[in-house]
């Protein structure tokens, strides 16, 4: 069996697969890049060729103008893949956002998984994470501390609906990352029976349309900019977190400020964002999910890319699992967690 370190090199700007001359989620433009998902800290513009799922490519086309039709960019469905320089690459669902994938690399008898970002609980907007056995499991650790236990999603959605109904003269403004979190909140609201129109910030209109085009039903969405203030009383508004305390929100009827994020678990973090209604909804695995996943995948070695790596390293140590932290840079999308 080959030694992973001889063919997979962790660099600050990403993971380099030497025999294939390919980077995974590089933070600067490269010749060939395999991309796990469409968030800006993983998907960048300017690469020569991009290998990703069709949904991720579509998102990159929308966000960074990547040309999906160009022959050097290649789309692969889940369980599908390609071979390059003797390395077999295949994509498996990561459960993070639409199109998000773990990438399995097989070379000289060795199997390495890079998860990108992931979660384990069901999400109506994307495929469920699949446990794939491997030798080296390269995981994120955004919530790699035992204080992070995300409550059941339906409980948080019920809290949101309860808050809207409690004050029918006001509206609830939910800050949610424009790719993934926003659509998930909308889809979960629909699943909970909220069938009124959902009002959105203009910045998320196209992404919502992209989700709908990929079969994710978000129900009726209306633009805040095209709605009278009074019509939004008793309604739910979804906007990017940056708009929460922005002048933009003045056009809303006395909004209750909510935010959907795993960070909302910690009270002072929520206060810091001037949030009145914290919703602990995350697209990242919580402590339980991270540790359960490592146990289930049961790799020989665990590499940790970003987040609270100290906490997860300590857990690995306590459970006699080999682990190391990779210290990748630029993987801190606070807003998106």
């Amino acid at each position: 069996m080959a030694k992973a370190k001889s063919w997979l090199e962790p660099h600050a700007q990403g993971l380099y697969v030497k025999p294939a001359d390919l980077w995974i989620d590089p933070s600067r433009p490269v010749e060939r890049a395999a991309v796990t998902h469409g968030h800006a800290d993983h998907a960048r513009s300017g690469h020569g060729a991009v290998f990703a799922t069709p949904e991720t490519l579509a998102i990159m086309a929308l966000r960074y103008g990547v040309d999906v039709e160009a022959s050097h960019n290649q789309a692969f469905g889940y369980s599908d893949g390609f071979e390059l320089g003797g390395v077999r690459f295949s994509f498996f669902p990561a459960g993070h956002v639409l199109g998000s994938a773990q990438i399995l690399m097989e070379y000289a008898g060795e199997r390495i998984i890079i998860t990108g970002d992931y979660k384990r609980r069901p999400d109506p907007t994307c495929a469920l994470f699949e446990v794939v056995p491997c030798d080296i499991f390269i995981t994120e650790a955004t919530f790699g501390l035992p204080v992070f236990r995300h409550p059941p999603t339906d409980q948080e959605i019920a809290k949101l609906i309860g808050a809207v109904r409690a004050e029918p003269d006001r509206c609830v403004l939910v800050g949610a990352y424009a790719l993934g979190k926003a659509q998930r909140v909308m889809a979960e609201l629909r699943a909970a029976g909220w069938d009124a129109p959902i009002y959105i910030h203009g910045a998320m209109e196209k992404m919502c349309a992209l989700y709908a085009a990929h079969g994710v039903d978000l129900g009726e969405l209306r633009l805040v900019s095209e709605t009278d203030k009074t019509d939004m009383a008793g309604q739910i508004i979804v906007a990017p977190p940056s708009a929460l305390n922005d002048r933009w929100s003045r056009r809303l009827p006395d909004p209750v400020t909510a935010m959907a994020s795993g960070w909302m678990r910690v009270r002072q973090r929520a206060r810091q964002r001037m949030v009145e209604l914290p919703l602990v909804i995350s697209d990242h695995a919580d402590w339980e999910e991270l540790t359960t996943t490592i146990s289930q995948v049961n790799p020989k070695e665990t590499w940790i890319t970003h987040g609270s790596e100290d906490g997860l390293l300590r857990w690995c140590e306590l459970h006699q699992r080999q682990a190391r932290a990779l210290h990748l840079v630029g993987r801190d999308l606070e807003e998106e967690a």
Binding site: L145, P146, R149, V266, Q272, L277, W315
Partner: protein, 522 residues
């Protein structure tokens, strides 16, 4: 515990004072006794469970969670109670209906030996939010922005009773305040305070702004640069109360011992300074004596405290507050000689010919302990709070404002390890605190040490090098002039602001308003 936990959470996320008030009113109206009493006492930090301290909680957690993971989590969360609440494993079949009262009873009964076991079994009854509420109840440090004053206002509003009555009764009745609630709800008579050394709400002054008064109608006294106190003797007890109605008897045992008359006085607590030939020393010396629960012999000798008395509220069981100032003054002058003259003296009336003469005397006053002049309407009774036209305070130059510390940053060089740069703010008309300036001088090294510790103990958030501080500390800021400025949200900029005093005695909500600063703009 569920309702209490929900209340704490809503208070944490609610910023406006009025909304906090509404939440408290609602809670007080709809929660049964004795839970609501314990809850409100916990919110205003009136409870102390000596057997339960954070070191004990950390040790208890170590029996359930890896210590290194606790340390990393504590570092991230920034608060022991919250970390412990989140890390404590959910017990199967949790959510037994643990009441706040049951928790308070169990914690009161705990000894150092039994506390860990008791706390553990309480934690096992609760979910994460309930555990947070329980640990905050046990350890204090609520940080939900509820002052004693706000709680009393909420009580008054909840049961439609006068807030001044609530102020008086509050200190006379221990948590969980059952007789207070019974009175509020009309189920019982007003509790009888005849045998209790209870607090009377202070009469306060308005600043004198661009007006003159007729000295035939107003008496003038020096305004002393100490802290306002009320000394109450009743039911065989002597208590000293500060401006906010907090009892500070423990810090001034010599005054408690020396005040042996059945009376209630209002006066200025000062420290006698050698440099002033036995006269009152500056506020800095007094600082040494503040904020202590007990006091050493050396402190007593180095910083001898005394009270300069200026009003008499009750004597020999008679309430004098409805009498005009002239009459109270007459009785005061004959009363003060009954007191031990090494600890009490009379604040003299300034005999000025007219207002201009008074202005000259004010400008010429050199005494370090003189802060300005007080003007008191001769025919006015002693009424709680700040009533228009009755009392005025006329501070000496330079310009000063009482501001609330909001943010702190470390200094440079010698002060690199100290949080020595402070951003402070004043209240807007709608009750929001807006930054008005930043200062990093004016305090002594001793005060800097104290301020640094205060910052570290009261940090709400960290933004890189900047710490957001619990908005509770009033800083008196002196400045040469103040101008309008587009750079700051408050629209104001101070010239050469420096910290002139740390006002630990003053509640944050009584800091100056932006409007008062605007009036000083040149």
């Amino acid at each position: 515990m569920k309702a209490f936990a929900a209340l704490i959470d809503r208070l944490i996320y609610t910023r406006s004072r009025n909304s906090k008030l509404a939440l408290l009113v609602d809670y007080l109206r709809h929660t049964p006794d004795p839970d609501r009493g314990w809850a409100i006492a916990a919110l205003i930090e009136s409870l102390d469970f000596p057997a339960v301290k954070s070191a004990m909680v950390r040790a208890l957690l170590a029996t359930r969670v890896d210590e290194e993971l606790f340390r990393l989590s504590r570092h991230f969360v920034g608060d022991t109670a919250e970390t412990a609440a989140l890390l404590w494993p959910d017990a199967p079949g949790a959510q037994a209906d643990l009441t706040v009262a049951a928790a308070a009873d169990a914690l009161s009964a705990a000894t150092r030996a039994t506390a860990p076991q008791i706390l553990a079994s309480l934690l096992d009854c609760l979910d994460a939010d309930g555990r947070y509420a329980l640990l905050k109840l046990a350890l204090g440090g609520m940080r939900v922005g509820v002052s004693a004053r706000l709680a009393k206002q909420a009580f008054a509003q909840a049961f439609a009773v006068p807030v001044d009555d609530v102020e008086e009764l509050w200190h006379a009745i221990p948590p969980p305040y059952a007789p207070l609630f019974a009175w509020g709800e009309g189920r019982a008579e007003r509790p009888d305070l005849a045998d209790v050394a209870f607090f009377r709400p202070f009469m306060l002054a308005h600043p004198l702004e661009e007006t003159t008064v007729d000295l035939a109608e107003y008496a003038a006294e020096w305004k002393w640069d100490g802290i306002r106190v009320q000394i109450v003797h009743g039911g065989g007890q002597t208590r000293i109360y500060s401006r906010g109605g907090e009892e500070i008897s423990g810090a001034f045992p010599e005054l408690v011992a020396a005040f042996d008359q059945d009376a209630v006085i209002d006066g200025e607590l000062l420290v006698r300074g050698e440099a002033q030939g036995g006269e009152a020393a500056s506020f800095n010396s007094l600082q040494q004596r503040l904020g202590r629960k007990t006091v050493s012999k050396k402190m007593l000798a180095d910083y001898p405290a005394f009270v300069r008395v200026y009003d008499l509220l009750a004597i020999d069981g008679n309430d004098l507050r409805s009498l005009p100032w002239t009459e109270r003054r007459r009785q005061l002058e004959s009363f003060v000689p009954r007191l031990d003259d090494s600890h009490f003296d009379l604040s003299q009336v300034i005999e000025a010919r007219d207002f201009n003469d008074l202005a000259e005397r004010r400008a010429g006053a050199r005494d370090a302990a003189i802060e300005g002049v007080m003007l008191k309407r001769r025919d006015a009774p002693y009424v709680p709070g700040r009533r228009a036209g009755l009392w005025y305070k006329w501070k000496r130059d330079p310009l000063t404002a009482d501001c609330v510390m909001m943010y702190a940053q470390r200094g440079n060089g010698r002060r690199a390890s100290f949080y020595s740069d402070y951003t402070f703010g004043c209240w807007s008309d709608d009750g929001e605190l807006l930054p008005v300036g930043k200062a990093y001088s004016g305090f002594t090294d001793e005060e800097l040490k104290w301020l640094d510790k205060f910052v570290r103990d009261n940090t709400l958030n960290r933004f890189g090098p900047v710490r957001e501080i619990e908005k509770s500390l009033v800083l008196e800021v002196a400045f040469d002039s103040i101008h309008s400025s587009k750079r700051h949200k408050s629209g104001l900029a101070m010239r050469f602001p420096r910290i002139s005093r740390i006002r630990r005695d003053k509640p944050a909500e009584e800091a100056d308003r932006i409007a008062a600063l605007l009036a000083m703009v040149t």
